[in-house]
Amino acid sequence: MSDDEPTRTGGKLQPPQSTDKELSHIMDKPVWDNTALDALVQAHIGRELRSLFDEIVHEPVPDRFLQLLQTLEAKKGDSA
């Protein structure tokens, strides 16, 4: 860790050691200044957004809407 990092409450962060090369490049920078971590978080956000959207999109259409549209269509016929 570099010595010119600002001091925080509780002292400097000491991340756990990692032999995993992929993770070590994330861990060698503080959380608040970490583009690699940001990229991971943004990818996570993208997945979660799509997952939320897909979950609802795949629900069956509630009856109330089918009934509404049937009623509206029938009325249109009546008023012709």
């Binding site: 925080r8 962060l13 992929e22 861990m27 996570h44 957004l49 609802i56 999109v57 509206l72």
Partner: protein
């Protein structure tokens, strides 16, 4: 003037996406469906103003959104914009009171201001283009782009600043590991 051949069918096809968008705005399933109901009725009554060949989903999103901002939003307690709270991020961020909690995505999403949340849903979730989303929201493309950017930044902060507890800074590295391994091993079909 040409008319859409089967308006009922077009509307039914769009309902799932409308429900998803409505849910992100209303943050409540029942109210979201009420909003969709209002939207469908308005759309039906205004079918004549729809240009055949243009994007009907975008047209419906616009109606739904207008309905939300004019009627449905008033009915709930206004959520304050959290701009000021997170402006101090750099000085207060990794304290012993914060931890990263990636389970509460929806909680964090629902804390965003309305214009941030809708921008994320239209661009990030529905997969619309910036041009389409900007048109739906009645703003410039540049505005939409910066809104999405700010929304993503704010959401990332919200995800990483959870409720205060005694968990220390080590937990953030743990969370980074969790995300990294989740992403690497992520396989949508294996859940």
């Amino acid at each position: 003037m040409t008319v859409i051949p089967d308006p009922k069918k077009e509307l039914i096809t769009a309902i799932p996406r409308l429900r998803a968008f409505a849910f992100s705005l209303c943050r409540n399933g029942d109210r979201a469906d009420d909003l969709v109901q209002q939207t469908l009725m308005k759309a039906w009554a205004n079918m004549k103003s729809f240009e055949p060949g243009s994007n009907i989903a975008a047209w419906l999103y616009t109606i739904l959104r207008n309905e939300f901002y004019s009627e449905f939003r008033k009915l709930r307690h206004e959520v304050p914009d959290t701009d000021g709270v997170f402006a101090a991020r750099l000085t207060s961020f990794p304290t012993q009171d914060s931890h990263i909690d990636f389970q509460d995505f929806r909680t964090a999403l629902f804390k965003l201001a309305d214009d941030h949340r809708e921008a994320l849903m239209l661009i990030g979730a529905s997969g619309l283009s910036y041009e389409e989303a900007a048109k739906i929201c009645g703003c410039a493309v540049g505005t939409m782009k910066s809104r999405v950017h700010r929304a993503r930044t704010k959401l990332a902060e919200l995800l990483m600043i959870g409720s205060s507890d005694q968990i220390g800074p080590d937990r953030k590295w743990q969370a980074a590991v969790t995300i990294a391994t989740t992403q690497r091993g992520a396989d949508p079909s294996s859940d």
